[in-house]
Amino acid sequence: MAAVTDRLVGPSPAAEVALDMVKRGLVVLPFGMAFGALLGGFNGAMSVTYGMFLVLVNLILSAALLAWASKISFAAVASAALGGYAMRLGLIFFAVWIVKDMSWVAMLPLGITLIVTHLGLLIWELRHVSASMAYPGLKPKVSRSSSRPVAAGRR
C-alpha cells in the first residue's frame, strides 16, 4: 500500500516568498518615506512607514501560519488560511485603531500605503515566482561565478 502524504515535507516555499517580499519592502521603505514626507511632511512620512510596517508584518504572519500548518496537515493549512485571514484583518484593524488619535497619523497616506504597498509588492514578486518542481518557491538566479543556477534565498 502506498504511503499517504498529508503534510508538506521540507522547507515552506511560502516563507521563502514572504521573506523575499519583505526584503523588497525594506528596499522600497526609504522611497515611500520620502514620498510621504513630500505629500504630508513628518506626519505623512510616519504614516507611510507605519502602513508599510503593517503590510510587511501581515505578509510574514500569513506565511508563518501557512508554513507552521503545512507541517501538521493539509487540513490544518485550510484552517490556518481562513482563520488567519480573519485574525490578521482583526489585527490590522486593532493596529490602526490604537494609533488613530495620535498626532502623527494621517489617515489618507496610511490607507493609500496599505493598498499600494500590498499590491505593489505582490505584483513585483510575481516576476520572481517559480513554477518548477525543483524550485517551488522562487526562480533560480544564474550566478556570475559559475554556470549553475542558484535558488534565490537558498545560497
Binding site: G10, A14, L66, Y85, G111, H118
Partner: protein
C-alpha cells in the same frame, strides 16, 4: 402589530434625541461598519474556495505540494487586497 407600533415609537423617540448632524454621523458610522463587513465577505469566500482547491491539488499530487503552496500563498494575498480596500474605505469614512 403591537411590536411594530412599539418599535416605531422607539425609532421616533431616538430621532428626537439626536440633532440632524448627530444622526448623519451615526448613519455614516453604521454605513462604514457595514461596508467593512460586506467587503470582508467576498474575499472570505474567495480564500475558502482557493484553499479548498489547493488542498485538493496537494492531496492528489503531493509531489507538487510546494509549487501549489506558493501559488496558494500569492492567491491568498491578492484576494486579501480586496478586504484591505474595504478596510481603507472604512478607516477613511470613520477616522479621517
Amino acid at each position: 402589530m403591537s411590536i411594530i407600533a412599539s418599535t416605531a415609537a422607539q425609532i421616533s423617540e431616538l430621532a428626537q434625541e439626536y440633532t440632524p448632524a448627530e444622526a448623519k454621523a451615526n448613519a455614516g458610522a453604521s454605513g462604514a461598519g457595514m461596508a467593512y463587513g460586506l467587503a470582508a465577505i467576498g474575499p472570505g469566500i474567495g480564500i475558502g474556495y482557493l484553499v479548498g482547491q489547493a488542498v485538493q491539488a496537494m492531496a492528489r499530487q503531493p509531489e507538487s505540494a510546494g509549487q501549489v503552496q506558493t501559488t496558494m500563498f500569492l492567491g491568498i494575498a491578492f484576494t486579501e487586497a480586496l478586504a484591505l480596500i474595504g478596510f481603507v474605505v472604512f478607516i477613511l469614512l470613520k477616522f479621517a
